[in-house]
Amino acid sequence: MSFPRKVVFYFLLLFSAFLLFFPVLYAFMISFMTGGEIMQGKFFPQTFTLDNYFRVFERLPLMKYLMNSFVVSTGVMMGQLIVCSMAAYVFVFIPFKGRDLVFFLFISTMMIPWEATMIPNFFTIQKLDWTNTYQGLTVPFFALAFGTFLLRQHFKTIPKELFEASQIAGLSRFAFFWRVILPVSKTSLVTLGAYGFLTTWNMYLWPLLVTNNDQVRTVQIGLKQLQSQEVATEWGVVMAGVIVVIIPTLLLLFIGQKQLQKGLTQGALK
């Protein structure tokens, strides 16, 4: 690439990066500022004091919320991995009459928006007495057509001779699934796991509906509480809360960006 073109590209890259990252950067700066500094409209805080962070943990049971979010996200991630990988295994390695029909049914669930079914789901959770429980927050999300589809795409790349070789060796179907398919598909399992963790961590509407006390409430709802309590004056505290909430997922994304991109593109397109 010629030098002037390089300059143009770097300029575009830097400019876009600054614009896109500005809200996060600004929130990060604010989280260290005192109320007065914010009023003056400064960009850099005078001192990087952690006062706001201490205060946000006092105001809210933020530690508990973080814990809850972690439990719920990990739970959904594990549940999705187990349920989806089992289904995907059938769609690739166990042929039976009507399999295509079942697969079509699975895919059709992608067209039903979660929000269109939330009213009966809310009552189902109530009837099961699952409001304010971890299972109420996790179980409905275990089955995921997208996840099944993504894993199926990867399983399909595994040569069928591997299955035949294991048949000759006398491996049972479950042993083949457990000892060959899952280890071989580590990369797409990681992708789906990261995706499941991210989306669950960031989930907003469902936790809002099925939690009404601090018992299992997640951080996202905590943010809403914080914002409605503090909105008048203490933006520094609110931003400290924001930073605490986004750090785990940002870290996950930074570590797994390449992997996530590869895996999601594979799953999304044939």
Binding site: L20, V90, T117, P140, A143, N202, Q227, I246
Partner: protein
């Protein structure tokens, strides 16, 4: 001999059904969960949309299509539809173009490109609640960034979230920002899947950057673009969190998007019947979008 052949027949029936039985065992969790949390509630929603309901969401009085008739009459619902359509128009094209632009500049082989890719995809790791809180501050009438910038260049301040003419646009801007990460990541993946030989042969033919973009990149990327447009559309229809935190549907219902409207109707006003009718409406919208996309999109799309 006869005995053994009938034994074989039995064996083979046993064997054949073995596959189906094993398959069902593995599929059981998915089928159960889909039945309870997707298929049943879908039918239940349609069912409820024909009824007036009590406070516990049980069907109380059959009213046929009256809920729908009521909705079509209702100014509030029409308003909500208008807001949703506008919201889709504001967010989808702009969001896809922005993500495509970012993916194109981040697909160059330059030093430190990994850093930029990480930055561009970062909004995928930020929740709707967190981003909305940040934008709430940016849009703040007095201490917010935007109004400070406007005063700096001596322009009149804008009541971003409080002015009915501006609120929807403001919410759209924050939504575009939030969705950029995911769209960018998928589009970048699509770009990287394009065979490098195509560009090499184009270079040998002496094609310039824009020509390559128009004749190779965009056509080869069309399946990914197609996918991301569909996803963005569906996402736009489903937006909720930003409304709940930024505007609560206001001012004067200018940002009362359909999902927020369903939420309020059901869980604030306890009108589960009309809420269900709206939910059916949402479902139909998404269904139509998907079908249209497949029908018209698929033909124009270039699959490898």
């Amino acid at each position: 001999m006869k005995g053994s052949s009938s034994l074989h027949a039995k064996q083979s029936i046993w064997k054949k059904s073995l596959n189906a039985r094993t398959a069902l065992l593995y599929l059981f969790p998915s089928i159960l969960l889909f039945s309870v949390f997707v298929f049943y509630p879908m039918f239940r929603t349609i069912y409820l949309s024909f009824f007036l309901t009590d406070q516990h969401g049980s069907a109380a009085l059959f009213v046929g299509l009256e809920n729908y008739a009521y909705l079509l009459e209702s100014q509030a619902f029409r308003n909500s539809i208008k807001a949703t359509v506008l919201f889709v128009l504001y967010t989808v094209p702009a969001g896809v173009i922005l993500a495509l632009f970012l993916a194109l500049i981040a697909n160059e082989k330059l030093k430190g490109i990994g850093f930029f890719r990480t930055i561009y995809s970062s909004s995928m790791g930020i929740s709707v609640a967190a981003s909305s809180v940040v934008w709430l501050f940016l849009f703040h009438p007095s201490v917010g960034m935007f109004n400070r910038l406007l005063t700096l260049v001596h322009l009149p301040e804008v009541q971003w979230l409080l002015d009915p003419d501006w609120a929807l646009l403001s919410v759209s801007i924050s939504t575009i920002w939030l969705n950029t990460g995911f769209s960018f990541l998928i589009l970048l993946g699509g770009l990287q899947n394009i065979d490098g030989y195509l560009y090499e042969s184009a270079k040998i033919d002496g094609a310039g950057y824009w020509y390559q973009l128009r004749r190779i990149t965009i056509p080869m990327l069309s399946p990914t673009l197609f996918f991301i447009i569909t996803i963005s559309l569906i996402n736009a229809f489903q937006s909720f969190g930003q409304i709940d935190i930024l505007t609560k549907g206001g001012p004067s219902q200018a940002t009362n998007l359909i999902v927020y409207s369903i939420y309020r109707e059901a869980f604030v006003n306890y009108q589960f019947g009309t809420a269900s009718a709206q939910a059916v409406f949402l479902f139909l919208c998404i269904l139509i979008v998907t079908i249209l996309q497949f029908k018209f999109g698929e033909r124009k799309v270039h699959y490898q």
